[in-house]
Symmetry: C2
């Protein structure tokens, strides 16, 4: 793939942008005109900088309000174009983007526009410039790539082609088949952007909310597939206007951009995304001197010690199908050794091909992790998340097993929730979507008394892997508060699924587990809302069980109190086809947990 | 006015919210149900807390998906209502908000809904509860207050009335006259909210972007006027869903809310907004030992010393109609004494009535300002902005004047730009709009290489007072960088208007003023864009003059370099009816200034 990105997609000075773009692996760069105009250097000098960074200028843009103008504006537009063509030659830019006219002065008409482009094509030809015409979704007369293509077809000039932009096409739900009928050599460049599915003014949406392919909700994959069917193999270029990206770390944005393009590669160009079979285990770090207290905690959660590492101070606990590993070998410094879940093990189709894909996506394959790679497992890392990749049960060979305990339980991993910095939320979504076969299935705002928590849910098709990615802008929200300790990882909430919440709750009572106290007012509301049977209501209230239901089924949840002031467990039961995460209950869980931190309502 | 605010409008725990709401002067509070449900205290205990804070519960809300339901949902909805009514009685809440049904299960029909409300009215009557029905702008069948009113009219029950919400009515452009035909006693409560004029999904807009009346673009003033015409004199209650407010300082939000309500008072309830005649002067602080260098600077800007304070070390400079005062009496600590513009003097219609309005709006009247009130002038302060209020020329009596210099110049104040924290941007807009007769005339995004600058322009009708309020979320933007020194005030940019920019430019050359160097590439672009005459282009390029034009006229700008790394001057000329601020040139000015700070392109 010929990867390219527009300078407007990241922040900084032109040099800073070029440096970052080059470093992250792009081959081409679109020069957004203002980035060049504000510069003191002459076009020729900038040309040299671009080429010193090993980059090619894929596009010079934008050129506005050109086609369909009446005189004297028409002549002026041609004069303007000539001057820009001359500068492009000095700059070393071959292709210019002309976007469809938005001026109220424009007259419209397909033939008039085609004539304008034919005439401009002749001028461009003499200067060795190529003109790409793009339909802005909010253009005055031309807002659909099919109309832009008709103009280009009638302009009938070798130096005039079309520019496609996934946002302009997908935001208007234009039939993608129409792309397949454009000859590939008439597509001068393709711009790619995704966006969350908002129903708003197209210009406003485009200018503020675009994001990297895979971070939003548009069907960029289908767009690319149709494009590939034309045989197109020229630049694929990111053009991302995003308020958040304008202030975030440019290297992170550029890396995500590069990753998002690799994720759009043609079939067979890189190894496919990996299928996750299941979560195999969750691993905790612990200090040696805390092993006893953690043992007591795990026992109260119903977990039983089943094995011990043959040579190291690492212990395996099991409850039903859930395995917890505690690792007392990590105490290289105090914080890292503190009790905390820091990684999970995923059973995948093929570890080696997953690692190949990691390499292509610039995801770290941790070779010399300071925790030491005790089980000879492959560990990958991204944005402070650690994942062990496993394709068989060999890792258990390192353990001596105690007599197997029959727990008679179907406990399973339901989901894991992580908490990330607001600025890396989309980055984390892209990490999972680009490496694994999984989808973002929802995007919810959770109300914390101190602000909004953005919560993205990612699942694989069989729902054996579900991860919730939370972030908040406000540092007083619970999700941010718990992150304050800055442990190795960002796992905050471990949700385990049972098929009998009342049996489990009874067991917890016997084991003496302290569950999270929920307010009486909550249960009055549940009563009013759902009209539960009196004995069920009594039982859930007595046992701090939260309840939800929708048209698909019902849902029970028990939370533990906060552990080490940084994470907690949830035990849940899904009845019938209830598929949610109890979002309505989140504010009650959060309020109750905040009381534990502050000792009072906050 | 019976002032009220919904708990959902500010962040924190219920107690924190009530405390802030009470402190800022509200008499009533809407209890948003979740704020109460998450609480451990019983309804009766919360009732006591509310009353201890001197507050009355104006409304309990929301009650959803009630009217027009088929069985068995209808019965369940009635059961749910009964339980809520009982809780309301314990809580001491008299009125409940029922919002129009959004459930797909609802059947619709005006008469069916009216019957439901009549029946619910009877239940409510027995429990001494009043039911207010509100049309959500996105309700399934009822999305218009006129339809809600028809249902209430047909329900024909003393305990059933309508609730109006300015957002739901104004967001759908519903004719306001329809409000005037509702009997005032049938309006149980009025909710008020403003919002920026965005074209987007109504629910999304409402949930994320509402703001305080006067901070947005909706015609809340007309809404209130029509409401007052009905004779309504019950609660006016803020119900503001805003992502930013959910994380900002709750006292600031609550104060702005209170101010926004006072600003909506009936005519004659408080003194009217003040008319600004003009900006009289700008005052700078300076250290004594720097007086000489500042004198040199002012001279290079064309200013001439014309007077000296009779008893203090305060000097008056004049250029045309622009007066600068430098005050060397402020050095109570080092920072405050540093050279910086810290206040401006406004000539207003009537100082005493302005001060009365300040009091009602909770704007500080600075009595014992640490700078000392040298001219016996009245000084007001809000959000770190200082304004002297003047209604005559008496202040000049404190000065001895030198022989008057004939400068033969028409230099005028054009505008002053201030830079505020992102979280106080809307607060600053409201400050000006609520105290003075002025309007927000535009709201622009300026692109800084490090992020977006939100720029709101406020003007009075005669355009003798214009202020630009800038803020950015990213601290690397120029506007944030210049604010780093945290001077007394936040004045960052002083724009003075001439009627002959070339004459002025020549004068600056003679005086040796260093103007801000603009890139050559900029002038190539201006050439391509506007096709200026060659000699004009040459002249503006040689003199670092920026150019803009629109259909109304043309515009010239000269900037100084940065002064004390914290502010700068602009000299501008407006031709014909050019009314803008050269927003297209801002990125060039910003880039050039950033080079001065960092010594290179950033």
């Amino acid at each position: 793939m010929k990867t390219s990105i527009a300078t407007v997609s990241i922040n900084g000075s032109l040099e800073e942008k070029l440096k970052s773009i080059s470093k992250m692996g792009f081959k081409g760069v679109e020069i957004f005109e203002n980035d060049f105009l504000v510069h003191d250097l002459k076009p020729k000098e900038i040309k040299k900088i671009v080429s010193d960074y090993g980059l090619e200028i894929s596009l010079f843009q934008p050129f506005r309000d050109f086609e369909g103008m009446p005189e004297p504006y028409r002549s002026r537009a041609f004069d303007r174009a000539k001057k820009k063509f001359d500068i492009m030659n000095e700059l070393g830019a071959k292709t210019i983007l002309v976007c469809s006219n938005t001026s109220n002065l424009a007259v419209g008409g397909i033939d008039r526009a085609a004539d304008d482009f034919n005439e401009l094509g002749e001028i461009a030809k003499n200067r060795n410039i190529f003109i790409g015409y793009e339909a802005l979704a909010w253009g005055k007369y031309i807002s659909d790539h099919r109309d832009a293509w008709e103009i280009v077809r009638r302009a009938n000039h070798n130096n005039v082609g079309i520019i496609l932009d996934s946002f302009h096409t997908l935001s208007r739900d234009i039939n993608l088949d129409s792309i397949a009928s454009i000859p590939k050599e008439k597509i001068f460049i393709v711009q790619i952007a995704d966006a969350p599915k908002y129903n708003m003014d197209l210009l406003f949406w485009s200018r503020h909310f675009r994001n990297m392919p895979g971070q939003g909700d548009l069907n960029v994959l289908d767009f690319m597939q149709t494009l590939y069917n034309t045989g197109y193999d020229n630049w694929i270029s990111l053009e991302i206007f995003n308020d958040q990206f304008r202030k975030d770390n440019r290297d992170v944005i550029a890396k995500d951009g590069y990753r998002s393009l690799i994720n759009l590669s043609k079939k067979n160009e890189i190894v496919e995304r990996t299928k996750i079979k299941k979560i195999e285990f969750l691993e905790f770090s612990v200090k040696k001197e805390e092993l006893n207290i953690i043992h007591a905690l795990f026992n109260s959660l119903g977990f039983v010690k089943v094995g011990h590492h043959k040579t190291k101070n690492i212990i395996l606990y099991v409850f039903g199908n859930v395995k917890f590993i505690i690792n007392a070998e990590i105490a290289s410094n105090e914080k890292n050794g503190e009790f905390n879940p820091y990684a999970f093990g995923l059973v995948v189709d093929n570890v080696q091909s997953t690692l190949k894909r990691c390499k292509a996506l610039k995801i770290n394959n941790v070779k010399d992790f300071y925790l030491k790679n005790k089980f000879k497992m492959n560990l990958i890392e991204d944005n402070g998340q650690y994942i062990f990749l496993i394709d068989n049960k060999k890792w258990q060979n390192d353990f001596n097993f105690l007599d197997q305990v029959n727990q008679n339980s179907n406990l399973e991993f339901d989901h894991i929730a992580i908490s990330v910095e607001h600025s890396t939320l989309l980055s984390s979504v892209l990490f999972y979507k680009s490496l694994f076969e999984c989808k973002k299935i929802s995007n919810t705002d959770i109300i914390d008394p101190s602000g909004i928590i953005k919560s993205h849910v990612i699942e694989n098709k069989s729902k054996t892997f579900k991860i919730v990615i939370n972030s908040a802008e406000n540092n007083e929200t619970l999700t941010s508060q718990l992150r304050k300790k800055k442990y190795i990882s960002n796992i905050q909430h471990i949700a385990l699924r049972t098929d009998d919440i009342f049996k489990l709750s009874k067991k917890f009572n016997e084991l003496g587990l302290k569950t999270l106290k929920i307010s009486d007012n909550y249960y009055d509301d549940i009563d009013a809302k759902f009209g539960l049977e009196t004995n069920i209501l009594k039982k859930i209230k007595e046992n701090n069980i939260l309840y939800d239901e929708d048209s698909d089924g019902s849902f029970f949840q028990i939370y533990t109190t906060l552990i080490n002031n940084s994470f907690f467990f949830e035990f849940l039961q899904r009845n019938k086809s209830y598929d949610g995460y109890g979002a309505n209950n989140a504010i009650f869980r959060i309020s109750a947990q905040k009381k534990l931190i502050y000792g009072c309502h906050t």
